[in-house]
Symmetry: C3
């Protein structure tokens, strides 16, 4: 099993909250590595963003997910103490998680028909970095 | 490190929301692979289901978890736009996550005494597929 | 790729809900393994605790995260059936998840500048075990 160095790509988000499809960048990282069987770990090195897997077809799903999250974890609460004012983003980041693992077989990501990989911005707009490790096995 | 192909098994869920214990199927996939040390990745290739690890003893825990999730993310909200009417399922799926990793040592899953692996159905009843990758290391 | 046995460390929590920084223990496990490139899987073998990655700078973030979680998932609900009275802890555990994966390069964890790894206690105070698997690749 050769060591495939960690790759990194940047995205720019455009709103306070946003789900940005990064499936293509993950596929590209897998292709660039030359690995055909194994899996890919995508990791977001931020504390107010997350990465998740969800529906890639109807954009209304993203709207509904983000609106529900905002309703559950609004920007302001009387009990928030963190001076930056983005405590909600930290909560949402841990709810959705910092990494996803996607299996890879014969050079293809084993995502379901309706699955895409999303960077979830919860405190944008900002530039964001995603680390990708392709593991051969 | 030999390549152990991705395995797949099917389950059938029986309710709109359900936590179905799939620990045995994961153990079987590990046993079938012949791998004794490493870990197992279980991945749900769906956007309205999840996989999580939680209590395997008192079934009331599943009831309480699903009821609380339903209270937090009810089926209908005035602001939902997604025409399929299952936006809640997408939110819950990302809250719980699409994959779990369980360590494997001497052929045994390193789960805590009270831990089981669950497929979480949030838009059932349906047939569901779980992918399992056993990694030797 | 040599097999690096699963390591385990104990922590003691001091409150019902607490986020305990375990970054140093994870770094130590990585250093002890001698692995310089790969990744680390940290796994909590409990059903009322979790592990997550979040802000390591302002302690108010932990306060705000735990207070928000408590507001969303309070200790008692009329519909809870589980006799132990800790159903909330089980919900929070699955929301945040049982494991994290952190990439490792040149002997260094690839965490963002503001990221730390946290054991999340949701039903303490208690002693808790964290399993760590260091994977070389």
């Amino acid at each position: 099993m050769a060591n495939h160095p960690v790759r990194q790509f940047q995205v720019r988000t455009h709103a306070t909250s946003e789900m940005l499809d990064i499936t293509e960048q993950i596929e590209q990282a897998a292709a660039d590595s030359g690995v055909t069987n194994g899996y890919v770990i995508a990791f977001v090195a931020h504390t107010t963003a997350a990465v998740t897997i969800n529906e890639n077809a109807d954009p209304d799903v993203k709207h509904d997910m983000l609106t529900k999250l905002e309703a559950l974890v609004p920007r302001h609460e009387t009990y928030y103490r963190h001076a930056e004012g983005n405590s909600d983003s930290h909560v949402k980041a841990s709810m959705f998680g910092q990494s996803v693992t996607v299996l890879l077989e014969r050079g293809r990501l084993l995502l379901g028909q309706w699955q895409g990989v999303y960077l979830c911005e919860f405190d944008g707009p900002r530039p964001r970095s995603v680390l990708v490790k392709v593991v051969e096995t």
